[in-house]
Amino acid sequence: MALANASRRLAQSLLRPLGSAQSPLGALGLQQRGIAEPAAAEDTSLTVEVRPFSAHRIEPPSTTVTTDRAELLKFFTSMYRMRRMEIAADMLYKAKFIRGFCHLYDGQEAILEGIEAALEYTDSIITSYRDHCTHLGRGGTVVEVMAELMGRVDGAAKGMGGSMHMYKKEHNFYGGQGIVGAQIPVGAGLAFAHKYREDGGVALTMYGDGAANQGQKYEALNIAALWDLPCIFIIENNHYGMGTAEWRGSKSSSFYTRGDYTPGLKVDGMDVLAVKQAMTFAKQYAQKNGPILMEMDTYRYHGHSMSDPGSTYRTRDEISQIRQLRDPVEHVRKLLTDNNLASTSELKAIEKDVKKEIDAAVDKAKNSPIPPDEALWKNIYKDTLGGKMKGLDSSVKIQL
């Protein structure tokens, strides 16, 4: 009995209270959010003050960001689409259409949206297993994501990869990655290729606060800094490495400073305009000087994956507070409606369209065929070896 009480007390003490220095709410100070100033009546542009950036060994960019109705509507639609897609994935997983691992991105949409607003498809991106929305950001379709999640032929990797392995070569999306942190050196390699080809592109290597303690991250940072590679290291800090809170996994939570000689910026990752501003700045920096570290302060509503309820290591209050105060989609909605750039009914219509789009995509994906038997043996090698290989049963011979 005493042991049970003691362990319960211990469990409670591990969940830090809201608003403390280490909590996702406390860190940036909630009062400093954007003072929006609409310009003259006919003008649809908007000037916003984003939260100040924390900077390490670099002068941060200005916190004054201009945007306009068209851009904000694009952000709203795109992020709402990401949100609804992930929610649909949640439901499909529970209905057992999706199996295995499924890591959802809802809550973090502003990061990808801001990144894609600052980058071109000629720049390269590689990320972790939380890659469904990255695929959308790189010009992929919801059908491709849904079909891949269900292991169908119309999926982003023809059903061969699954949730953690979405790819889009035409737009330089080099995938998700199953092993935590293994994408970091590969991303440095992408940056190397840009430099080798002198094509002016940058490479983004994205990972989480859990991966930030991987040795290969520091190996890659060293090489990138040594060789002046146009590599932007992006830490999507959602404050939990699966079930381990950031303060329990990292001696220093100031991830943006842990590049040492590599400059870093900490950005409000729930604000798409802040991300866009910071990424535009980072791209210019990386093209000219070499690597830079960008810590995106964000939050994921779901647990680490669908097998994690997400509530054993954090409180439901924390999750709902962030939803109320920092939701990235709601932030853009408020910017549009508070500044009379769009009406609530207009936005509701967009939401309705997006929901219809997602439903249609899910249907299409459900009707996509499963990969044929021959697909098992296809693409093991790129250069075919001109020979046949015996399968499980020696009467089966496969052309390699």
């Binding site: 390269s124 590689i126 999926g155 982003a156 990797a157 023809k158 059903g159 061969m160 990869g161 392995h165 790819y167 889009k168 070569k169 080099y174 995938g175 990655q177 199953g178 092993i179 293994a182 994408q183 970091i184 050196p185 590969v186 991303g187 440095a188 390699g189 992408l190 190397f192 290729a193 430099k195 080798y196 080809r197 490479a203 040795g215 290969q216 190996e219 890659a220 060293n222 090489i223 040594l226 060789w227 296809k378 693409n379 093991i380 090698y381 790129k382 250069d383 070896l385 001109g386 020979g387 290989m389 015996k390 020696s394 390699l400």
Partner: protein, 326 residues
């Protein structure tokens, strides 16, 4: 052999501007086994890249660069160090073409010396071919002569598949001739010595151990056929089967460990597919399942020696032999 390998790298780098070489001390130092000697003077620091000591990272970088269409060669100063890069090799090099539904290719060559040297100690005497053989999507190639070293490395660089290219630490200084511009098939075994009594399957330095044993065996009237596997994954079963059907006796001589070695896989396949063509069970001569000791005599006892090959042939092919008339 190091000159032949260097020629291969030089010729391919000249021919194709996307070829580059990553590794520790490959540039200004000239390569720890001279394979890239002075190439940085010709191609510059952007193509001969001296990496810091971080196998995991520079293997990953090589893979990332390969995914974009460059053709990197990644050198492990010793194959054993590449254990640190195993995750990258297995997941990102081997499996990427498949898991991306065919979108990305990884035209990477991973090369370096392995094998038991002269008292280098356990950690520097590893045989990684047995560790890598299960990875789907990679090809394993082991060169053995000056000629095939150059020809195979050229082919490996031109291949769109990820190739793990095994060199042997004791073969870098052997001398021999190369064939101008010749590229050799990565999937074909070589007949090192045609024969009729027994098929001896070997690779890398064991080729020489076996050929030395053959000098003794010839005197005693045996006529072994020595097949140098070259391709450790996949096996050239066409050449192997042809030889086995002829001789009906098989000995595998390998330098990797007995447990889970190349010979273990090969023996199983031969049993499954050529059982009726065998007059004797497949005999495997492999290294002992021990870390390689430092002491000279113990190191020698760890690996296969020519006398053991001679004994094995006699056991397998029978001891009654007529001496061939002079």
């Amino acid at each position: 052999m190091w000159e032949a390998l260097r020629e291969a790298v030089d010729e391919e780098m000249e021919r194709d501007p996307t070829v580059c070489l990553f590794g520790e001390d490959v540039g200004h130092y000239g390569g720890s086994y001279k394979v890239s000697y002075d190439l940085y003077k010709k191609y510059g620091d952007m193509r001969l890249l001296d990496t810091p000591i971080c196998e995991n990272a520079f293997m990953g970088m090589g893979i990332g660069a390969a995914m974009t269409g460059l053709r990197p060669i990644v050198e492990g100063m010793n194959m054993g160090f590449l254990l640190l890069a195993y995750n990258q090799i297995s997941n990102n090099a081997g499996m990427l073409h498949y898991t991306s539904g065919g979108q990305y290719k990884v035209p990477l060559v991973i090369r370096g010396p392995g094998g038991v040297g002269r008292q280098l100690g356990a950690e520097h005497s590893q045989r990684l071919e047995s560790y890598f053989q299960s990875i789907p999507g990679v090809q394993l190639v082991a060169c053995s002569t000056v000629a095939n070293a150059k020809a195979l490395l050229k082919s490996a660089i031109r291949s769109d598949n990820p190739i793990i290219f095994f060199e042997h630490v004791l073969l870098y200084n052997i001398k021999g001739d190369t064939q101008e511009g010749h590229c050799q098939s990565l999937e074909r075994a070589e007949i090192a010595r045609p024969g009729s009594d027994v098929t001896i399957l070997c690779y890398s330095r064991m080729r020489y151990v076996v050929l030395q044993a053959c000098q003794q065996l010839e005197k005693e009237g045996y006529n072994p056929e020595v097949v140098d596997l070259i391709s450790l994954k996949p096996f050239d079963m066409e050449t192997i089967a042809k030889s086995v059907r002829k001789t009906r006796h098989v000995i595998i001589v390998e330098e990797c460990m007995r447990t889970g070695g190349i010979g273990a896989s090969l023996s199983a396949i031969i049993n499954e597919t050529l059982f009726d063509d065998l007059d004797h069970q497949v005999v495997r001569l492999s290294s002992q399942d021990v870390p390689t000791a430092y002491a000279y005599e113990l190191e020698a006892a760890t690996i296969v020696q020519p006398e053991q090959v001679v004994d094995a042939v006699k056991r397998v092919a029978g001891s009654a032999r007529q001496l061939v008339a002079a």
